[in-house]
Structure formats: structure tokens, C-alpha cells
Amino acid sequence: MGAITAAGLPALLPAAGLMHDPGATGRFGDYGGRYVPEALIPACAEVEEAFRAAWADAGFRRDLDRLLTVYAGRPTALTPAWNLSAELGVTVLLKREDLAHTGSHKINNVLGQALLARRMGRTRLLAETGAGQHGVATATAAALLGLSATVFMGQKDMARQALNVHRMRLLGAEVVEVTSGSRTLKDATSEAMRHWVTCVDEAYYCLGSVMGPHPYPWMVREFQRVIGEEARAQCAAELPAAIPDYVVACVGGGSNAAGTFAGFAGTAAQLVGVEAAGGAAISGGQVAVMHGHRSYAIQDEHGQILEAESVAAGLDYPGIGPEHAHLHDLGRARYVTVTDDEVIDAVRRLARSEGILPALESAHAIAWVLRAARDGELPLGATVLVTLSGRGDKDMTTLMEIS
């Protein structure tokens, strides 16, 4: 003891090394890596090389920024949740990724990767999708840039997100039904990777979250960093203290959370990732090597990966991106869970109080804020930034069945 630190600052703030380039091995502490069949190693290396070159190329950055602005509608608004804030006694600010084109943050990553694919001379995008938001974003970017798109989707998700299946097909994408395993995002991801082996020369794998083999966890976080950087500037304009006390986002693979956290990793803000109780890789899992990286995943006592069970298809995933595992181990971010019931309540509450219908995924973040404010975990007067990753229109069928 004895060292004088600024009140409220965590003792350890390894900002310089946090959420930056994971290097050639793609490691975030013990996590990450490139655990793929030998056949895919050259393809991953080629994506890494192309991304490094593109990300350092002012022309590429300019093209992407322009698309994000004039096509995707960035910057997205930071909306104070006036009524909810008054009810809870905390200041809640919503980063409105639901207002981005195609209805979620997924478009940020997809526009970046689709431009990269075109730069690499690929003519087809492959993608996995859970809720369908990443699939819709991929189909959209493919249509815009003159590429074809093949989207792998679990049979169970195709049924509960039928609207998004139709959207993808309307946009010209081929949607491939995956019937293996749990017939959800986990299996769609495995199938997309298997298919990629057969067509690496013409197709680009447009992975939707901060997972998979290096460079995907890093690259997708970089393409999503725009959320956190915009929010940081917007918070500075909105909040007397400039930085919110808490930064909260939902986590399946964890791309909207990674993008949001990247803007605040070097600040004193407490970072909170909210997992679905039925797919809580960090809260309920152990270390696992799956889908090309080492991270956490829920598994049985023999190491077999368990099927996740969540009302939100986008969070119905047994694993989590490797950088989140690292942030967890460092104690820099905290990972919590909410139940399906809390999520449904949160959808209703936000809809009634603010006139905003969040996606079931995004409602996980809201649900934690509601609980934490009620339990006193969020002190009165605290400031909370919540990334609202997507809008809830796609979930109307599910919500209608529940009510």
C-alpha cells in the first residue's frame, strides 16, 4: 500500500498493451491462435497479410469510412434513455447500433471484410449466421459490391428467424440449411469452415464475430472499433465526466462488445459483458479449443462442447471470442449472465419507456442494467453506456409466441 492513485481508478491499467495488434501468432494472453486444419492455414495467412496491408492503406480506410458514412449511416446516435434513467436513478446512454443499415452493428464488420475480399480478388463471400443479422449484412454487402454470398444457418435458427432468411434470399444470397449437431450458430460455423476448405481460391470467409482463427478475432474487433471510438467521443460531449462509469454490451461471440470495449479499454470505465445464462462461456465454461481458437466454452465433464440454450439466436453459442477470455483473466472486463425471462422483461421495458424495440441479443445488456440498478450494484447517479447492438423487428415472431 502507500502508493497514491486517483480515486476510482483500477490499480492496473495496462492500456498500452490492451486491445491492440495480437502479433503474428494471434495471441491474446493464452487465448486465440490459429487452430485449423492444415488445408486452411494458407488461406488464414493470406487474409492476415491482406488485412495488415489494407488497414495500413489510407485509400482502403477512406473507402470504408465513406461506406460507413453514406451507406451504413454512421455515426450512429448516442441516445440518452431519459425515462429509464429517471426511473432507475442512473444515467443510461444508448449507443444506437440498431439504427445502422440492416439493423445491427454487423454491417460495420461486413463492409470492411467485403472490401477486403474484393481487394483480394475473391468473388464470393461465405458466412455463418445465428440470428441472421450477420447473414443479412453479408448478403447486403455482397449485393452492393457485386459479390455472391453463401450463408450457413442452423435449421433451428432458420425457423425462428424466418424473416431474416427471406431478407437474405431477397438480397440474392444462397442460404444453406445446417442440420448437424444443435442446428444453431455453433454448427453453422463448423459447416462454413468445412465449406471454405473446398473453395479457398474463389471464396472469402466473412466471419461474423470476434472468433475463429487468427486474424479474425483481431480483424473483426478492429472493424467494430468504430462503435467504441464514436461512443467515447459522444460520451465526452454528453457527460460531465467525459467517460461513463460503466460500459455494457451483450456477448455471444462478442463483436459488439469488443468494438465497444476497444474505445474504453484504456479508460477507468468498468467494462461489463452480458452473456446469455444458457450460453455462458466465461461464467459457466472452461478453456476450449474450438472453431479455430483457444478460449472458453461450455462443455461436459468429458470435454464435449455443450449446446447453448438461449431465446436470442445470436447469443445461442457455447463459446466466446478469445480476447474476451483474456480481458476476463486480466480482470479488465467482467462477464455476467441474464436469463431469458429477464431479457423478455427488458425488451418490454425499453419499448415502453423509450419507444425503442431492442433485439433479444441487445436486450441482454439492458436486462443487466435493470437488475444492477435494482440491486444497488449500480450506485445512484452512476453513468452507464449500453451498446444497443440491434433492433428487435426480427424477433417479433418469437415475442408474439411468448406473449
Binding site: 490459429r34 487452430y35 486444419p37 492444415e38 488445408a39
Partner: protein, 267 residues
């Protein structure tokens, strides 16, 4: 440091000796625990002239496997198959052919490299294939396998750069597993001519046996593949029949048919 009594038949000396005697090598695959009588299938493979047998330790996320082996893995897991249970069964089998297991890195890493290899050796397994563990991450398992007298068999793919293929050939033990094409496991109508060319290229880098696998189902494909390669691994064609109800005698007959075709072609 774990001390284990080495049992089982070593992979490399057996395959090398048979290759050098002019025989083409045949390694049939079976998913461990896929049926109650799964070890009877292994016995049938050995009796039908297999030079080694490959046993899959099923994982819930079989990334390199096509629909047939996926289905077999799901069936085995549904039956309650576990790594420990399969190894316990293998310990009792005592066949006079080398036993090789194929599994995914998660199931290796969670046990720990040394413990996993020691468990293999204890069960008489003398070879291991981990298709999702790349060269860059190999060192730990490589050392543990060597210490347990288990051959770590590496997989080479046609997409690899020449320097990668050379390093795979150099660091592989037992044999080099050459993937016939850019595919997952599974039956195919045709074996591309490039498969043989790939095997021939690998043989320039090593005097280990080079075996072709993935998509080799028929006697014609086995014969065509071994014009350049030293042998073949046959998996899905056998597992498809097993899933459809084939008995150990049925699968033994299929392996014997492949054996006869290879022997007849290279007499």
C-alpha cells in the same frame, strides 16, 4: 515425468518394413465407440489385412469431417463414448497391428499433452493424428508424444507452401498423411490426378511412408492413389456401411476386398 510400459505395435517400423517389402499400405478408419461391438470391427479390419488401424476419438465439433464421420461421431457420443472409455476398450483388444488415434486438439489439450500421450501409450496406441493442430502450435505435443513413444503423424494439404510441406514431412513421425484434395473427409466419385502428384511431391522430402486419405472409397481409387503414394487411409466408405447396419464380418470383407485389389495391382 510419467513412466509407462510401452505396449502395442510401433507404427513406423511396421509400415516402413511392409512398404520396403513392396506392399501397398492399407489403413482403415473406425470411429471409436460407434457401436456396442466396435472393437469387433477393429479385429475384423486386422484379420482382413489392415497394416494399421485408425480410431477416431469423437469430438462434438469435427471440423475436418464430412457428413458420414460427423454422423458416426454423433452416434458414438450419443452412446456415451468418451476418450477414457475408448482407450480402456483398446487396452483389451491386443491386436498385432499398430493402433493410431485421430482426434481434435481440444480433447488433447484438456488432458494435458503428457497425460494424454501417456494414456495412449498405456492403451497400446502408438500413433496420433490431430488435424487441427498446426505446425506453429506443435512443439509441446511433439515432445510429449516422443517421450511416450507415440508417433505424432502430421497431415499435409495440397494448399500448403513448399516450405510448409517440407517441414511437415520432416517433423512427421510414423507416416505422412497426405490429404488427397481440398475437401473434408467423405466418399467422392473421383480421386483427382493431383492427389498422386501431391503424394509424389511429399515423397521427395521424406523416406517415411506417405499415405493418401480423404475421399478414397473404392478399390479403383485405392489402386490409383497408390501408384504414387505408399498407401491409403479409407474411412467414410467403411463408416457409411457401418451406419447402414454392416456387421464386423461385412466390413472385414470390404477391407479384404481393398487388400486384394492392392495386392493384385502391385504383385
Amino acid at each position: 515425468m510419467t513412466t509407462t510400459t510401452v505396449t502395442g505395435t510401433a507404427v513406423e517400423p511396421r509400415l516402413r518394413a511392409r512398404r520396403d517389402a513392396g506392399r501397398k499400405l492399407l489403413v482403415p478408419y473406425l470411429t471409436g465407440g460407434v457401436s456396442a461391438d466396435w472393437t469387433d470391427h477393429l479385429r475384423a479390419y486386422a484379420a482382413a489385412g489392415a497394416d494399421a488401424v485408425e480410431i477416431g476419438l469423437p469430438f462434438s465439433e469435427p471440423m475436418v469431417d464430412g457428413p458420414t464421420v460427423q454422423e458416426a461421431s454423433e452416434r458414438a457420443l450419443h452412446r456415451g463414448a468418451t476418450v477414457r472409455g475408448i482407450l480402456a476398450d483398446l487396452r483389451e483388444v491386443r491386436l498385432d497391428v499398430p493402433l493410431i488415434v485421430m482426434t481434435y486438439y481440444h480433447l488433447v489439450a484438456r488432458e494435458g499433452h503428457a497425460a494424454f500421450c501417456a494414456a495412449l501409450a498405456d492403451a497400446g496406441v502408438r500413433g496420433v493424428i490431430v488435424p487441427d493442430l498446426p505446425l506453429e502450435e506443435l512443439a509441446g505435443l511433439e515432445q510429449a508424444a516422443a517421450e511416450a513413444a507415440v508417433d505424432l503423424i502430421l497431415v499435409a494439404a495440397p494448399s500448403g507452401t513448399p516450405s510448409r510441406q517440407r517441414e511437415i514431412a520432416r517433423r512427421s513421425r510414423g507416416f505422412v498423411y497426405a490429404v488427397s484434395a481440398m475437401v473434408t473427409t467423405g466418399e467422392r466419385a473421383e480421386l483427382p490426378a493431383s492427389a498422386g502428384e501431391f503424394a509424389a511431391r511429399l515423397k521427395e522430402h521424406t523416406d517415411l511412408p506417405v499415405l493418401l486419405g480423404f475421399g478414397i472409397s473404392t478399390a479403383e481409387q485405392a489402386v490409383a492413389g497408390t501408384s504414387a503414394a505408399d498407401g491409403v487411409v479409407v474411412g467414410s466408405a467403411l463408416m457409411r456401411r457401418l451406419l447402414d447396419g454392416a456387421t464386423p464380418a461385412d466390413l472385414g470383407a470390404q477391407v479384404a476386398m481393398l487388400r486384394d485389389a492392392l495386392d493384385a495391382a502391385y504383385r
